[in-house]
């Protein structure tokens, strides 16, 4: 218990001065121009805190970094956030508070529920561009959500990437089959219909679909079902940890040689840390390079240097950190493009600037140049856990969907 407290303390020490901040001010050098505000409803507590803490660190570190580079076209950047405990009404309250006091150009939303609830307000205000923790497929609908984008592939596109990988493993007429295991939540059910359609296109048979409650449940009966159909691949979605571990351990105990795969939020190092040896061979789809991957690039190096500087003790930075950083990077690019075109920072102008992103070099955060399609970055790569090394290693090339 005490070790946990200590560990928590140490982890926080890094955020320390940053969290401090409901605001992080810019250095003096760039203060002559009006600051550009990044707002955020950040889940520092509650069920999503494990990611929220790192998202916050990523956004904070990026803000400090961009300010040390002279801000955006000379404008300093200011990051203003509030904790939401991952509850929609509190996220909305945070948004109203921040948009009322600081008029943010861009904003980080912490959940799909929040992103949907705030849409009409966002659309009528029309001066903020929003992205966040959600990769929900619906948000790619530009009619309803013109000012919201997804900082990676949406969940359906993630399934598309996973299925394409699976298809590439089939030889000739011998296509592997697959089972979907997902939680009984909006999050869990998001990509299933599209996933099934895509699988049919690729000629992959979906042999079983299993719905479970999220979190702590006994899944023995579900494992028995999978034992009957013996899928070559099981794709998890809508979980963070449990019950992925239990499926993997029990199915291996039964002697099945099934491969296990998961989407973004199920592909953090948490899986390795908590499962240890059992995590070996688990695969995830990830649009960003892992912090400890062997890849490099100017931006990735800058990220590592900044992370090192803000908290030398922290070591590895989770995917939430990369996600937060990448969000802020896209915002910067969008704001920059808008300002360069001599336009005002309105929702329409920024959405237009975002849509104009083509073959954009992310400096190593994403391994290939990316193009925005329907307000998302449909790119990703399959990574596999090497438990002995304690990290994910790439097993596919970068896959860019059209």
């Amino acid at each position: 218990m005490f070790r946990n407290i200590l560990e928590k303390g140490r982890r926080l020490a890094g955020l320390g001065s940053l969290v401090a901040a409901l605001t992080v001010a810019a250095p003096a050098m760039a203060q002559d121009k009006e600051p550009i505000v990044f707002g955020g409803s950040i889940p520092l507590s509650g069920v999503f805190a494990f990611a929220g803490i790192h998202i916050h660190a990523g956004l904070t570190d990026y803000t400090n970094w961009i300010n040390s580079q002279g801000g955006i076209n000379g404008h300093p950047v200011k990051y203003v956030m509030e904790d939401t405990a991952y509850e929609v009404d509190r996220s909305v309250a945070a948004f109203k508070k921040i948009s009322g006091s600081s008029s943010p150009a861009t904003y980080y939303g912490d959940s799909t529920g929040f992103m949907k609830s705030i849409a009409s307000e966002l659309n009528s205000q029309g001066n903020t561009l929003m992205s966040g923790a959600s990769f929900a497929t619906v948000l790619t609908d530009n009619e309803t959500y013109p000012y919201q984008f997804i900082p990676g592939p949406n969940y359906s596109q993630m399934f598309g990437i996973i299925l394409e990988y699976i298809a590439s493993q089939g030889e000739g007429g011998d296509m592997p089959n697959v089972a979907f295991v997902y939680s009984d939540t909006e999050f869990g059910k998001d990509p299933i219909e599209n996933g099934k359609a895509r699988a049919a296109e690729l000629g992959i048979e979906v042999v079983e679909e299993i719905v479970t409650k999220p979190g702590s449940v006994d899944v023995s009966a579900e494992v028995l079902k999978l034992r009957r159909v013996r899928p070559d691949y099981v794709v998890f979605h809508g979980y963070v940890l449990s019950p992925i571990n239990e499926f993997m351990v029990q199915m291996r105990q039964m002697g099945l040689d099934t491969q296990f795969m998961g989407t973004f939020w199920s592909s953090d190092k948490l899986i390795i840390d908590k499962m240890g040896e059992d995590a070996d061979g688990y695969m995830g789809v990830m649009p960003y390079n892992y912090y400890d991957s062997e890849e490099s690039g100017p931006m990735l190096d800058a990220l590592r240097a900044q992370a090192e500087e803000s908290d030398p003790e922290a070591g590895y930075r989770p995917t939430g950190y990369m996600q937060g950083w990448f969000n802020a990077m896209v915002w910067t690019e969008v704001v920059k493009r808008t300002l360069d075109a001599g336009k005002e920072l309105t929702g329409d102008n920024m959405a237009e600037a975002l849509a104009s992103i083509e073959d954009w070099d992310t400096g190593g955060i994403i391994g290939i140049p990316v193009t925005v399609r329907d307000m998302s970055f449909p790119v990703g790569r399959i990574w596999r856990v090497n438990a002995a090394e304690g990290r994910y290693e790439p097993v596919s090339d970068w896959i860019h969907l059209d």
Binding site: K8, G9, L12, L15, G16, S17, L18, V19, A20, A21, L22, L44, S45, G46, A49, I53, E82, D83, A85, V88, D89, R90, V92, A93, K96, K97, S99, G100, S101, G113, K116, S117, A119, S120, E121, S124, V138, T144, D184, T185, E186, G188, K189, D190
Partner: protein
């Protein structure tokens, strides 16, 4: 003992507003409610709307739990019924919002009667668990009846509109929510001046005695369920217009517990208590956030350790009020009032 308070007729004794001073304070309060949206920022306006919705729902639950003594863990479910009714009607029929809100209330009331049916056979905690079962079924229906509820993704609706006015901003919504809240609290106050309301209270105090006195238990218990769910349904309908998204996850069990807590903290069986409780419980998290912000300069990780505090404080409020102040905030309020009324005679 108040001076000049002798009642000379039944009308005077039954009147809601008994003195000039009371009317004056009420007038002042209504005036503040009216001015409020014009002077505050969008954040406070949002909180004002939230409190308004919570007041309606808490008042409804107070009728059932506080006045009739029937504990319900289904309040969130009933709100969900109202919210889905509004969402479905506004998407598929385009009826104006006053109609959809009333229909939302009636729909919830119908479901409430259905849920209340076992109340003749079971009571007390068994009934609470029956309402819990109801909320499980309702969640299941919200999630699975995709053709009507949109499944897990839920429904998105357009803002409320009437006579060409669109109630999109919180500012406009405030003028639906708050007058409705005032109206519904007043209506509730009037119910308790009628035979129906007195029957509720008799059932709460001792249902068997009430039955011997000639109160038809099933009828009045169902009436209480219907009335309470009607309030929940209207609150849910407002919720739908306010957020314009309704999903099964919008109405979790914790929301039912939140409203029960609001009734308890405010004061069971006291309408003023319901109002105070709703406002208090809605604002506690925000107040805590202010405290967090004040602490962060000294304890950088305050946000992370303050958030679990919210759960702890929420629980401690429930436990603390039940043990130390079972009549809730309303009692504290009365004590303050008594102090001023009796000053300087009593000390």
């Amino acid at each position: 003992m108040r001076i000049g308070d002798a009642k000379q007729s039944y009308e005077a004794d039954e009147a809601i507003w008994t003195s000039q001073t009371q009317k004056m304070w009420l007038g002042l309060f209504l005036l503040i409610l009216l001015v409020f949206p014009f002077v505050v920022n969008s954040y406070l306006l949002y909180l004002g709307c939230l409190v308004g919705i919570a007041v309606i729902s808490t008042t409804g639950l107070n009728i059932l739990t506080g006045f009739t003594g029937l504990i319900s863990l289904g309040q969130a479910g009933f709100m969900g019924v109202g919210a889905y009714t509004v969402a479905w009607l506004s998407i598929n029929t385009g009826l104006p919002f006053p109609v959809t809100l009333v229909l939302a209330g009636l729909m919830a009331a119908a479901v409430g009667i259905l849920v209340g049916l076992p109340s003749l056979r079971v009571k007390g905690l068994y009934l609470a668990i029956a309402t819990l079962a109801a909320s499980v079924f309702l969640h299941f229906i919200f999630a699975e009846w995709e053709s009507v509820t949109g499944g897990m993704g839920g429904l998105s609706l357009k803002p409320a509109s009437l006579f060409g006015l669109t109630f999109q901003s919180d500012f406009m919504m405030y003028f639906i929510i708050v007058p409705l809240a005032v109206l519904m609290v007043l209506a509730a106050r009037n119910v308790f001046r009628t035979r129906i309301g007195r029957a509720f209270i008799a059932i709460r105090d001792r249902d068997i005695s009430a039955e011997i006195l000639g109160i038809n238990l099933l009828r009045y218990k169902l009436m209480s369920f219907a009335l309470s769910s009607f309030y929940a349904g209207v609150a849910g309908g407002l919720f739908a217009y306010f957020y314009r998204v309704v999903t099964p996850e919008s109405f979790p069990l914790s929301m039912s517990i939140f409203y029960l807590a609001a009734v308890i903290v405010g004061g069971m069986g006291n309408l003023l208590g319901g109002i105070l409780g709703a406002a208090f419980m809605t604002l506690v998290p925000e107040a805590l956030k202010l405290l967090t912000a004040a602490l962060t300069p000294f304890y950088p990780n305050a946000p992370v350790f303050m958030s679990p505090m919210l759960e702890i404080i929420f629980g401690a409020l429930i436990v603390g009020f039940l043990i130390f102040e079972p009549h809730g905030l309303a009692e504290i309020w009365h004590r303050i009032r008594r102090f001023f009324r009796l000053w300087p005679f009593r000390n």
